[in-house]
Amino acid sequence: MPARILVAKPGLDGHDRGAKLVARALRDAGYEVIYTGIRQRPDEVARVAAQEDVQILGLSILSGSHLALTRKTIAALQDAGATDVHVVVGGTIPTTDVPKLLEAGASAVFPTGTPLDDLLAGIARLTGDGEPEPATP
């Protein structure tokens, strides 16, 4: 059964080329990707994650507010009762902020420039199957 992943863009930046690229790469790797569109509030993202019962929530953040938005989203997930969702963060993240994001509860961080293969390997580790669902034409 393919793992379900929510790709969300919290905050105010409206650039979603990266998020859409990642969404397509995940789809092509056999995942079911729910895409929410741009400019979502953390409580909205958390509610969608709960309704969709995703294993992974990917936040794409280019605005520089990744720390605050990640913390708020993780708190909102707790409030929504979606406590077993892995949060991963991608976007323009300075390397010095990576440990801070992990400390805030992110399961992985993929700064801009992360090779797609590394991202897919990281996601596969989190979904627990090591490999995404094999292709079934």
């Binding site: 059964m1 729910i34 909205e44």
Partner: protein, 329 residues
Amino acid sequence: MTAPVPQDLLDAARDGRTAPLGRLVSLVERGGPAARDVARAAYPLSGAAYTVGITGAPGAGKSTLTGRLVGALRSREDRVAVLAVDPSSPYSGGAILGDRVRMHDHVLDDGVFIRSMATRGHLGGLSLAAPEAVRVLDAAGYDWVLLETVGVGQVELDVTQTVDTTIVVVNPGWGDDVQAAKAGLLEIADVLVVNKADRPGLDETRMDLENMLDTSTTAGDGWRPPVVATVAADGGGVDDLLTAIEGHRAWLAGEDRLAAARAARLWDEVESILAARLRRRAQRMLTDDGIASVRSRVGARDLDPWSASDRILAALDGGAPPAPSDPGA
């Protein structure tokens, strides 16, 4: 942490909690014994919701229209669940489920639950788990369950087996009277919607559809689908659509038609489940060592395929093989 039992999840979902309902739908989607447990717990609680299917060609505006319907129902304070089905990639098995982007207004509304689902290789416009998921949303206490299918063509008509009212969405200039006369998609409509009605060609499309309805001989049940024009992008005509849905609902309520239609659909569902399970049994049987001799006799033209299937059926039934001269078994 032990896995919560379906009944606990269902109780929490009926209290209006989001995450437990999300989990229940996942269990149903995953299949297997847990899905059966959920189905068993949900079934006696289901039947109170009114279910509406929204189908039509890709890009016809189904998601936007569904979002607008949610808004119209919420303004009456009815609680609404949406199941939006999108196709899985036949190549990777993955999917991008993006319908809910167009229903974003309702994300934080506690009276609305929206769930996306991939077809996972199932043809017919729905996923195999969709009917059961609709029943879970029904059992969770929503007044309405809206089921949006993948963009379908002329023959993928599962939705009508799952919902009370089927809406078929087309656009102006979508076809001509020959298209309209074709069997298939239009025949399943209880309500016909011409969406994007601000585009040229509305009058012709409406006339083609009405002509099709005038000359239709299949609708023996006496319901003539109304043709409603909408502009989902700005909400135009959505109240008319809701009126049309309510009209069909009221018609179904007369002479016990709704109860009869639901009972017939449920019995159809029993038949499909039974057929699928018998098929699996037959497939297992065909790989069984005990019938290897039957297989080699067929290959050697010593036993014809009908007689071979007689033997296998008899073994499935656990009884004596029927007489070889009985081809109808």
